[in-house]
């Protein structure tokens, strides 16, 4: 049983470019959350997808958008990249409808913006 997978593992972009990150949830999970983790900081909640809709959103600008597919996998898109977008982007999956909202994190995508 594969856990949460993310691709790519590393990515280098320049300011102003756009990037798409991908996540496949753990088998049996239907909810995907995205987090941004700057170096030395805790993960910051970006948004959560369930049933192909954005259900919750953190304090991130509209440059950050996402999508969830019928197979529960998800994408995170960031437009007009800024230097400050350099971070580890983590995807976490869980199963909605259970009282125990344990999240399983993927290994993350390290994004560097030059």
């Amino acid at each position: 049983d594969a856990g949460v997978t993310q691709s790519p593992t590393h990515l280098i972009k320049t300011r102003g470019q756009q990037v798409t990150l991908r996540c496949s949830p753990k088998s049996g999970h239907d909810t995907v959350s995205w987090y941004q983790q700057a170096l030395g900081q805790g993960p910051q909640f970006i948004f959560q997808y369930y049933e192909e809709e954005e259900r919750q959103r953190g304090n991130f600008p509209d440059r950050f958008s996402g999508h969830q597919f019928p197979n529960y996998s998800s994408e995170l898109n960031v437009n007009a990249l800024l230097l400050g977008d350099s971070a580890l982007y983590l995807c976490a999956s869980s199963r909605r409808g259970t009282s125990y909202n344990e999240q399983f994190f993927g290994p993350g995508t390290r994004l560097t913006v030059l």
Binding site: S33, Y35, Q41, G42, P43, Q44, F45, Q48, R55, Q56, G58, N59, L90, A92, S99, Y100, N101, E102, Q103, F104, F105, G106, P107, G108
Partner: protein, 110 residues
Amino acid sequence: GQQVMQIPQYQHVQEGEDFTTYCNSSTTLSNIQWYKQRPGGHPVFLIQLVKSGEVKKQKRLTFQFGEAKKNSSLHITATQTTDVGTYFCAGSYNNNDMRFGAGTRLTVKP
């Protein structure tokens, strides 16, 4: 706004000493989770606390949730080198919006 404060930021202990990290929220939490992140790794779920005053133990780890559901702590007894990493609390205000603390980085000297 809703946020979770975590202290201390760093803790360096001698192997065998105890370790505690604390989290505090200005508003009531619906639940709190604890995660451990090893250097270069990703957060790994440890436990979730839901009930007021709840205490849970996992071997040498003891987790507490305050009576007012605004604070929580993680205590490790007799630390080992395998305990090294950053410990995060993550509080939920509506079961979906999760706010992580800044983490406590634990180093253990053998």
